[in-house]
Symmetry: C2
Subunit: 138 residues, 2 copies
């Protein structure tokens, strides 16, 4: 559970201007495990930060994403999702309930000799199927 103070320090260290909105958005994302959409963040924060606009959420998330402080997830539906966990890990999307799970992943295990002449900057791995909870209900 990251506090506002933790996040303040993180942004200060990176010379990112501290604003109430940025801190609240980053706080929400950091303490979330659901890879929320812009819409979800907006609804979660609008009571606490009534002036908050969706444009600010887009701006903030895109900015933090450029700075590699968060990750933007593209899954097969039509809304971007965001992840404060920037270390390499895989995602599992349940086709039944829509939940997105994290899982550990050894990206070195890929046998990619074909790509020897390519400069690989990012490895995205994403599985689809049915989660244990949904499997037990069928």
């Amino acid at each position: 559970m990251k506090t506002l103070e933790d996040l303040s320090n993180e942004l200060k260290r990176k010379n990112i201007r501290l604003t109430h909105q940025r801190l609240k958005i980053l706080e929400y994302l950091s303490n979330s495990k659901t890879h929320p959409t812009v819409e979800e963040i907006y609804h979660a924060l609008k009571n606490e930060v009534p002036s908050l606009s969706k444009t600010t959420i887009y701006n903030t998330l895109n900015y933090l994403s450029e700075l590699k402080l968060i990750k933007t997830l593209i899954v097969d539906d039509n809304e971007a999702r965001f992840d404060a966990v920037t270390g390499s890990h895989g995602h599992f999307k349940c086709d039944e309930c829509g939940k997105i799970y994290d899982f550990d992943l050894n990206t070195e295990a890929f046998d990619t000799e074909y790509l020897d002449d390519f400069k690989v900057n990012e490895k995205i791995v994403y599985f689809k199927g049915i989660c244990p909870g949904c499997l037990s209900k069928i």
Copy 2:
């Protein structure tokens, strides 16, 4: 290089109604290695099939995708791309020129013990970086 006749037989075997539009779209996609967008397919075919509408391209691609005859690729830009190669393989997107390359991939090599209780139906792997052609130009 698949002919219209090859594709006709393929659709007949699957009991998919044969239409001129479907055959042309599938022919174009089958002989393409660029993972084209709807827009690209539309521009490539509109001279040969002047009546063709984008809605038909969407309908056709979505239908063939449901039937697992083609694959829909979600990359990090905002347009879906399509692939007639349905076997398991990875994609590499060059951040410089935008090209999408195929590469062989042994999906069994993933160490995914965490997912033992999950039913995995699909494994999507997608790398980003710079391709050899663009690397040599820098």
